[in-house]
Amino acid sequence: MKAIAKDLFRILPRSAVLQAPEDLLAYAADATADLFSRSPDAVVLPRSTDDVAAVLCYAASRKVPVTPRGAGSGLAGGATPVEGGIVLDMKRMNRVMAVNRGNMTAQAEAGVVLENFKRLIAKENLFYPPDPQSAAVCTLGGNVATRAGGPRGVKYGTTVHYVLGLTTVLPDGEVVKTGGSCVKQSVGYDLTHLFTGSEGTLGVITEVTLRLLPLPPAHATAVAVARTSEDAASMVSEIIARGTVPAMLEYLTLMAAATMNPTLKIPLPLTGEAYLLMDIDGTAAQVAADCALLSDLCREKGALEVRIVEDPVEAAAYWKARASLYPLILTMAKKAIIEDVTVPRDRLPEFVRKIGELSAKMGVLIGMAGHAGDGNMHPSVLFGEVNEKTMQDARFAVREIVRAGLALGGTISGEHGVGLHKAEFIEEEMGSAQIALMKRVKAAFDPLGIMNPGKIWPAAGVDHAKP
């Protein structure tokens, strides 16, 4: 047994520490396993903030790296323990402490699974909009740590817009509570939102206080089939410009539509180059009016077909298929590198055209699904065979995709975070002054550098990001 595990057994119950190689293997990577993985030295499954504090006190005393982990569904390599050490699996901290209807807030532990949380508050007709497609497994802590978004971003924003307060354990074991339950706050530096999106590099979030909304009473699902990708992208820009805001506005390629078809009762016609999948919510009257407006608008922009899906079961099938898209596509490709480039929405047609050109020029297959409504695309480089050449091509394609996004005033990540796999690009986006400032912030919180090392910026001398 490794010394670290032995030490941990001394401070925690036996059932809270895993150290067998078989157990460690399960924690060697997140959803980007095919890019990099490494088993940690030990896994700790805390049940309380105190447990987490005890682990961090120990880790600080021995300078052991600590990687917080929710479901490990991240798409940036954030929960992968690149330097070994301890993985803190937060999923046993899964209590919802309070749902406050009078204040429209809830307080929960970081390991609560997003979908369970949504189901629970829905019983009181409450609504928490952030909807990463991994909702069935991802945790509130992981969502906060990555600023997770999803299709609803277009109307409701992302996790960052709902975090009011946090309990966080700092790398030396100190527990800090930031923010609170007030829906507006204006005191001091906004540390709550500094931890939000910090990807486990500043501390371990153990509790979250979230803002809620009333559940919208009515919904409709609509699909528009576009002749070309650019048509679809310009429909999106137009929808946004006209001020009709669907709750979800997803962009799908022909390949994505074909992938989804087997689970749909009435398959999508495979005649378009791209598809828009929309959810419209609000009061019944509003939904009907918006549906009519959106249909007209899409037709005006040359849609081959606009379909309103009335049957709620069938509508659910569309969204379920949408959520499964990435794993489904992986059943066809050997490997996929999924990007998260986000551009201003009026630049979407240009971005889509550039990616199309790039794909054609390089002969690399680039899948394009995305939460187009908020400008967040997921160009994925797919390859059928893994060898040195395809890897190199893929790597080059990723670089070009990222540059194309940045050139249009975009960002390298809209919701997944930087983690391991986008670390090499962060300087290109943020510039050296911002990076230097962030590094000073990091040093102030984590002078020993034990919190999730190797993430957000590349660890000196190591390039884990290479596919």
Partner: protein, 396 residues
């Protein structure tokens, strides 16, 4: 399902998306990723296929801690059947000790135990050698051989009734209720001679050889002309006859074609009766019930809802849906006998959902789910759905 090696392409399809955490009962009980389907698959691959890791005690434990519920297969966007890999891995490792194996084989061959074996098994149960949830073996099995029951009134169909082992020898009253509900709805019922256990307990114990043997016996025994369908009261038996038999035998088996033909005719009893439609309104049953959906439901798109749909037609019955009716109860066939803590934790959640529903009685077709949910103290009443479809003021 001839070799683990054949599952390699599935293993390579895993995107590491983690979705299989959502429904795996074994993961849910422990909440550690070592018990999620993906990890189980990776261990199986590393230890048994690639041989890149030694087959340690811990590895065996992770492989054994699978309820073979099939949720992974249903939840995984790529439909990766970790369940089948677990079963094959167990067969390769060798699960049962020789004594348990011989008792299981005997039970499976006779669909129960009789004579001295029955006395010994019940005595063993009394001494705590077997879990108290399992009812004692009845003195007289429902069908020691062939039986036939004419349809009451006009005959609408004739079916072969595959009486599951549990209904045959642990709760024969359920088999009687099934026959009564079917015949009263114009369905003539015949129990064929020579059927043996569907093979599920053997499969679960890693005794695939014996499970195949049983499958062949059943394929022969059930391939009789002159019947519209093969019907069984147990969800797991139905899934075995319909899906697993074909897979276990494989395309090369001399009985492969017959197994396929049989599969097309297999139904779970409530699903079948619902499809036929009730010919008369059943007696009122003034009770509040909730439904538990057994795990082995993948073989039919309607079998999960069938009991509920059918009982909606029973006057006076109040339905109180529980949350997650299709979450595993923890039994996993006889998994619970060897994994008390894991199963107990899974059942704890189920019981809290049952309690929250406010129902007085749990309805589910699977006898093992029923026994395990009832618990050793039979605190919770559980019934087969067809036990609530009664006619003519019969006494229950």
């Amino acid at each position: 399902m001839q070799s683990l090696e054949a599952y390699r392409p599935f293993m390579e399809k895993c995107s590491h998306c983690a979705f299989c955490q959502a429904t795996c009962p074994s993961f849910g009980a422990d909440i550690s990723e070592s018990q999620m389907p993906r990890a189980r698959m990776e261990i199986i691959r590393a230890c048994l296929l690639d041989k890149s890791m030694p087959l340690t005690r811990r590895a065996r434990q992770i492989i054994a801690r699978c309820l073979l519920c099939g949720n992974c297969n249903r939840t995984c966007p790529a439909a990766i059947p970790v369940e089948e890999m677990s079963a094959l891995a167990r067969a390769e490792i060798g699960g049962l000790n020789p004594f348990t194996r011989s008792v299981t084989r005997r039970f499976a061959r006779n669909r129960g135990l009789s004579g001295i074996w029955r006395v010994a098994a019940n005595a063993g149960r009394g001494m705590g050698l077997a879990p108290r949830e399992v009812p004692p073996i009845a003195a007289a099995p429902f069908a020691p051989g062939a039986l036939s029951f004419p349809a009451a009134g006009e005959e609408r169909a004739r079916i072969l009734y595959f009486v599951g082992c549990a209904a045959n020898s642990l709760c024969p009253e359920t088999a009687r209720d099934v026959v009564s509900a079917l015949t009263r709805n114009g369905i003539a019922v015949a129990v064929p001679d020579g059927i043996v256990c569907c093979g599920a307990p053997l499969y679960s114990a890693g005794d695939l050889e014996k499970a195949r043997e049983n499958a062949r016996v059943n394929v022969e025994a059930l391939s009789i002309e002159g019947f519209d369908a093969v019907v069984t009261e147990c969800t797991t038996c139905a899934s075995f006859l319909k899906e697993k038999t074909i897979k276990l035998l494989g395309p090369e088996d001399p009985l492969a074609e017959k197994a396929k033909a049989l599969s097309a005719r297999v139904y779970e009893a409530t699903d079948y009766l619902l499809g036929k439609g009730l010919s008369a309104e059943p007696d009122p049953a003034p009770r509040a019930v909730t439904f538990h959906v057994p795990c082995h439901r993948g073989f039919s798109p309607t079998v999960d809802e069938a009991p509920r749909r059918l009982l909606e037609k029973v006057p006076g019955l109040t339905i109180r849906d529980m949350e997650r009716p299709d979450a595993c109860c923890g039994a996993g066939g006889l998994f619970f006998a060897k994994n008390r803590a894991v199963s107990g934790e899974i059942r704890r959640r189920k019981l809290s959902d049952i309690e929250a529903s406010g129902a007085e009685c749990v309805v589910t077709p699977c006898p093992m789910c029923r026994a395990f949910i009832s618990g050793a103290d039979r605190r919770i009443e559980t019934v087969h759905p067809l036990s609530l479809v009664r006619y003519g003021k019969e006494e229950p």
